[in-house]
Every structure is written in C-alpha cells, then in structure tokens.
C-alpha cells in the first residue's frame, strides 16, 4: 500500500520535474498540483484542436488564452484572485516574526493590505500555504540568481545551496515550526515537490545532461545534502547566540 503511494507520488513528481528541466525560472511551474492537472487537460484539448484544423480558427472569449509555446494559460478572474492571494501572503511574511507561521500572521497580512482579517479564509490550509508560498518564492529567487551566474558546476552547486540557505536567515527562529508544518500530510506532497524542483533547477544550471539512473541519483544526493544542511544550519544556529550568528562570516557559518 505504502509502496503504491510512494510510486504514484514519484510518478507525479518526476513527470512534473521533467517539465522544469527546459524552462529556467517559470513561476507557473510551482503552482499547485491541480493547476498542473488543469494544464494537462489543456494540453489534451490543444492536441484535439490541432488534429481538427477547422476548429483552430474559431476563438471564443471564454476559451483560456495561451502564451508562448508552453501552453501556459491564465484566465482573467483567476489571475486576479491569485494576485490578491500572493499580496496577502507577501504581507503576511512580515508578520511571521511576531506570530510565527500561523493563521494570525495571514490575518495580519490581510489587514496590512487593507482587507478584512476574514480574508484568511481564502487559505484553507492556513499556515502551511504561507510556508509553501515562502519556499516557492525562495526557489524562484534562487533560479533567477542561477540564471545570472555562470560558474563551473562544482562551485555553482555549493553557491546555490548557500544562497538558498541564506534566504532562511530572516525566519531562522521560526523555521523549525515551518519544517513541522511541511510534514503534515496535506502539505508534504507540495513540500516534496518544491525540493524536487529546487534540486532539479540547481543541477540544470550546473550543466547536468544525464538521462540515465544518474539523473535520479544526482537529484537524490543533492536533495539529501540540502535537507541535511538545512537542519544542520538550524541546529548550529540554536547553539550560538543571535549576535554571534550575525557576526560570523558567511563561509564559517555555511561550511561548518
């Protein structure tokens, strides 16, 4: 049973990650899985359209719009709603130090952009969605960073992990709470997806072109490494005082 679950998860996972190999830092890749399923449907429908050339010319207003050749679609209404959600979550991140990763932080975020605290109800998973939003945002920022940097593969991996870990510094005190939230059953699949995306992105920019078992091994190793440094960095943080943490030089902190 468990094996089946893992297998289906992995299938979903790698199907998803393969999409990411060629697109460098597209924000849409990190949308939730149902968005991905929708996209599959759209792909199917476009295939159907291609097979019957007569229907191609007729374009209704209600039909989703396509941008580029990646069949990314946006519907005007959804985009507006997502926009507000993103604004609320971004504003909520500033209240994490006060309320932790919690619904209260989202409420405060909603109030900060002039909405009623009631808007927190837009996030049925509450704090989990806030953490996922933060992780996704960090991954996108990392991807943007990697696009601009051009280094040798060994350096790039170390550099990427370091840059990524540094993004957690503002929230290091609350980070164990976030890690706990990511282990909850309804958050874990998305959390795993984000790790998969992260390591795939790093390997892509490190120039990995493997297509055999190496592909899996490399990603697995890097995911393990990243997870370990993530936890290690927090354990180390919890041992040192806050001031000495800030005084320590970059490499000292990351290499130990």
């Amino acid at each position: 049973m468990a094996g089946l679950c893992i297998r289906s998860l992995l299938q979903k996972q790698f199907g998803f990650v393969r999409q990411g190999i060629f697109g460098a830092s597209n924000r849409w890749i990190q949308r939730s899985s149902h968005m991905f399923d929708d996209k599959k449907k759209i792909n199917q429908s476009t295939d159907a359209e291609k097979s019957s050339p007569g229907t191609e010319t007729s374009s209704d207003k209600d039909e989703p719009k396509y941008f580029g050749d990646e069949t990314v679609f946006f519907e005007a209404d959804e985009e507006e709603g997502d926009d507000v959600r993103e604004k609320i979550l971004n504003a909520a991140l500033e209240h994490v130090s006060e309320f932790g990763w919690s619904s209260e932080a989202i409420e405060a975020g909603a109030q900060a952009i002039g909405l009623s605290a009631m808007a927190e109800g837009m996030f049925p998973h509450g704090a989990g969605e806030l953490v996922l939003h933060f992780i996704e945002d960090c991954n996108v920022r990392l991807a943007d960073h990697l696009v601009t940097e051009r280094k040798s593969s060994r350096v790039i991996i170390r550099d990427a992990v370091e840059v990524r870990l540094r993004m957690l510094i503002p929230y290091i005190e609350q980070w164990p709470q976030a890690m706990g939230l990511m282990l909850l059953p309804y958050n874990a699949p998305d959390a795993a997806k984000n790790v998969a995306y992260l390591v795939d992105e790093i390997w892509y920019h490190a120039g990995d072109t493997s297509t055999d078992i190496n592909w899996y091994a490399k990603r697995g190793v890097l995911a393990g490494l990243y997870g370990a440094t993530d936890r290690k960095s927090w354990i180390r943080y919890s041992r040192v005082t806050f001031s000495s943490f800030h005084n320590s030089t970059q490499h000292e902190w990351i290499e130990q």
Binding site: D77, E80, G81, V84, E98, F99, S103, E104, E107, A110, G114, L115, S116, A117, M118, A119, E120, G121, M122
Partner: protein, 301 residues
C-alpha cells in the same frame, strides 16, 4: 384525555391520507417542470414551492409560513434532520473561523442558531497578545430577519443562553438591508436565501454591506449527489416531512412549502455562478451529508 387521543389519532389518519396523495414523486416532478417553465416567461412572477405566484405574494406567503412555524421551528429542525442540522451549522461556523474582532451579519437568522454558535466560537478562541493590547477584540453579531416572530424566539433564547452582549437584533429584508455599506467582515445566511423572493438582489446586498476582504457564507439545502440516496431523500422529504409538520407543528402547508422550495432552489454549481455574478471572488462550495446541504463561500476583493 380521551378526546385528545381521539383528536390526535384523527390527525394522524388525515396526515396519512394526505401523504399518500402527495407521495407520488413523479407527479411532483411534472409539476416542478411545469411551473419552473412558466417562471422564466413571466418576469414579475416568482414561485412559492411549486406554485407560481407574484413576487409580492411570495414575500407575504413566506412571512406567514415562518410566522406560523416560529414557535416550533427549532424542534421541527431537530426532528426532520435527526439533529444533523446542528452539525451543519457547527461546520458553517468552523469554516467561518472568525478571528477576534469580527463583525458578523447573520441574515435570516431569527432564532439565533448561527449567532450563538459564533459567539461561543469567538469566546473559546485564544487571543493573540498584540490584539488584546490594541483593543480590537470585541466581536459582534447582528442578526437580521424579516420575520418578527422568529426574532422574538431568538431574543428569548438569547436570554436563556445568557448571550446579552455582542449581539443585536434587526428586523429587515435581505433584499434591502437597513445597514451601511462595507460595515461587516462576514455575512452568513443559513437556510434563508431559498426563501428570499429576489435572490440576485439579496446577493448584491450582501456584497454591498461587506468590507473588502469580507466573506460571504451560505448554508443551504442543495442537490444530493448520489442518485440512490437522492431517491430515498426524495421519498423521505415528500412523504414524511409534511406529515411530521402536521403532527408536531400542526402545520402541513408550511412544511409542504419547505420541501418544495428545496427542489426549486438551484443546485451547487448554478448557485455558485449566481454568487460569482454578484461580484464575489474565490467562490467555492462544500457538500454536507452527500449534498443534502452545501456551504457556499465567496470573498469580496
């Protein structure tokens, strides 16, 4: 004593006779189609159960129904739904999950079921320290009902449950709320919107009184998703509920109306679309008990 039992036995007999007359769901389906068809053609007409009536008549008729059933309303709800309506209402408040300082407007909530649950929920919730300091913690619920008799029952219950603060009672029509725009964080309507004559108007009023970011929540009977269960539910509601209404509340017609009005109400998707058309964003719904009831949610952004 003897006369009483004879009378109640006669009542039961009459009830049974009438139930057999109403039991043929096929017939009611035909009636349903006939009248829903004629509704579309005439603009000013509305429906009262399966009868086509003018809009003005509908409002009056609905008023009379709830005037009649007010005293036994809660008891009948318990009997008809086997107490499940309490779980549905609990669920509604849990979905609402009101943060401290919420201003709630509960429309068609005359007997205070949602209002009391809301107040209990807010009382139980732990308050974050910063909010305690700033003093924005007092939540408030305004109960608005068109029916004076229902409000009276609610006010009496408020006294027995010791809810004196944080609640106010207003008599008003959901289509023309006597309240200022943007003054509420949340709007709930539980088993009420079905009885409103012009639903679109009630929805746009809901949109008006909500503040930006405010939430609209509606608990209402809906379409049962499982076809086998739908069949059983159909039989139960047409054959049993009016009978129970007659025996317990002494009112057949009102409960016949209740059942018919449930069939007239749009299904989940259709109603979600209506909410979207009123201007709400992020409209979602959740089925309760296989879709016997549904909670629709929308946000004013």
């Amino acid at each position: 004593m003897a006369t009483l039992s004879v009378k109640s036995r006669a009542d039961c007999l009459e009830a049974l006779v009438r139930s057999s007359r109403c039991a043929v769901s096929l017939l009611s389906n035909i009636r349903y189609r006939m009248f829903s068809g004629s509704d579309v053609e005439e603009e000013k007409s509305s429906h009262f159960g399966f009868q086509a009536v003018s809009e003005k008549d509908k409002t009056q008729k609905v008023y009379r129904v709830f005037e009649n059933v007010a005293s036994s309303y809660d008891k009948m709800n318990d009997v008809m739904s086997f107490g499940i309506h309490r779980l549905w209402k609990d669920r509604l408040v849990r979905v609402l999950n009101p943060p401290a300082g919420t201003k709630l407007l509960d429309v068609a909530g005359g007997t205070g079921d949602i209002a009391f649950r809301f107040l209990n929920h807010v009382k139980r919730k732990k308050l974050p320290q910063s909010k305690v300091k700033s003093g924005s913690t007092d939540s408030h619920v305004t109960v608005c009902d068109i029916n004076k008799a229902m409000l009276d029952v609610g006010q009496k219950r408020a006294q027995t449950f010791f809810h004196s603060s944080g609640i106010s009672w207003i008599q008003g029509n959901a289509e023309e709320l006597p309240l200022s725009s943007g003054s509420f964080d949340a709007y709930t309507i539980a088993f009420g919107i079905r009885n409103v004559t012009r639903m679109e108007k009630a929805l746009s009023e809901a949109y008006r009184v909500l503040a930006p970011g405010g939430r609209f929540l509606c608990l209402e009977f809906s379409e049962v998703q499982n076809s086998l269960l739908a069949c059983a539910y159909e039989r139960y509601s047409f054959d049993m509920i009016p009978v129970m209404g007659h025996i317990i509340a002494g009112d057949w017609e009102s409960y016949q109306y209740l059942v018919e009005s449930i069939r007239q109400f749009p299904d989940q998707e259709e109603f979600a679309e209506m909410i979207e058309n009123a201007g709400f964003s992020n409209v979602t719904y959740e089925n309760l008990s296989f879709g016997i009831a549904a909670i629709h949610s929308g946000f004013k952004l």
